[in-house]
């Protein structure tokens, strides 16, 4: 790979993404894990920008970092921090094995490694380097496609209903039970 500015920026954002993700799954302190999750999501936003998808990069920052990560931090603060005990369960070795095997399989398929090693018909060929440029009005066409009856209007409306249902469901789940004082001994008995 020739060293251009673009490939350097790609490398930087990839390292941010993968390094942040590694810290998310390994760090003991859950609050730090949430901050590293924000870093990792920021790296993904950079990759989106590099792929000339500025709209997605924007909503990645606004929705993921601005809303979802903050929601997760709220939940972390509402529940107790148990940093003394180990952060992984008893099957973490099996988890490592599964993740490494999965990664090796994916690498063998998506990269040209296997065909360079001489194994034919195993890896898919994803070596495109110079795709045609994105049309300048790509973002406007994306917005029109969302509300076009011939385009994605029905999935768009269904997604709105899904969000609404999730919102109502979340409120229903965390709403304190009516007459919570009466149920308090029952909740205590379950401990």
């Amino acid at each position: 790979m020739e060293l251009t500015v673009e490939s350097l920026v790609f490398l930087l954002f990839s390292l941010i993404t993968l390094g942040g993700a590694l810290m998310v799954v390994t760090t003991r302190n859950l609050f730090h894990a949430a901050l590293f999750l924000m870093l990792s999501l920021f790296g993904v936003a950079g990759l989106f920008a590099l792929l000339t998808a500025p709209f997605l990069a924007g909503i990645q920052v606004v929705v993921y970092i601005g809303a979802i990560a903050i929601l997760i931090i709220f939940a972390i603060m509402l529940t107790p921090q148990v940093t003394a005990v180990r952060p992984t369960n008893s099957q973490w070795i099996a988890g490592v094995v599964v993740a490494v095997v999965l990664f090796a399989l994916l690498v063998s398929i998506v990269t040209p490694l296997m065909s360079e090693l001489g194994v034919e018909g195993w890896s898919a060929v994803f070596t495109e380097k110079n795709p045609p440029p994105v049309p300048a009005d790509s973002m406007a066409r994306l917005g029109e496609a969302f509300v076009d009856p011939q385009g994605y209007m029905l999935p768009f409306e269904v997604a709105s209903v899904l969000l609404m249902a999730a919102l109502v469901g979340a409120v229903m789940l965390v709403r304190p039970a009516r007459g919570a004082e009466d149920e308090a001994p029952q909740a205590g008995a379950q401990e």
Binding site: T17, W92, G95, V96, E128, P132, A166
Partner: protein, 102 residues
């Protein structure tokens, strides 16, 4: 531009890290964060395939946007469930929630 497989490689790494987190972490909120990582890996793939194969269409970006919507809904309901479980059982460790176990 860098070849397409490099983006797919980053996405594969992100997905595998998320997979490890889902399998190995004890805290339910940490598991939810790992799921977010996996969803992001899928999104990188969607946008990369759109950019390299069909940049004149909008389908790839539309799919990625729907993944955002589903992720937001999933986090809202998931965190509500976790907080509700914490209220009932005083624990957010996934192993402790074994009501449905034999």
């Amino acid at each position: 531009m860098v070849p397409l497989w490099m983006y797919l490689l980053v996405a594969a790494g992100l997905f595998s890290i998320g997979m490890y987190g889902v399998l190995a972490r004890r805290n339910a909120i940490a598991i939810l964060m790992s799921i977010e990582l996996m969803l992001n890996a899928a999104n990188i793939n969607l946008v990369a395939f759109w950019r390299y194969n069909q940049p004149a269409q909008v389908g790839g970006q539309v799919f990625a946007a729907f993944v955002f919507v589903v992720a937001a809904a999933e986090v809202a309901v998931g965190l509500a469930l976790i907080i509700n479980i914490y209220r009932q059982r005083r624990s957010v460790v996934a192993d402790d929630v074994d009501l449905l176990k034999w």
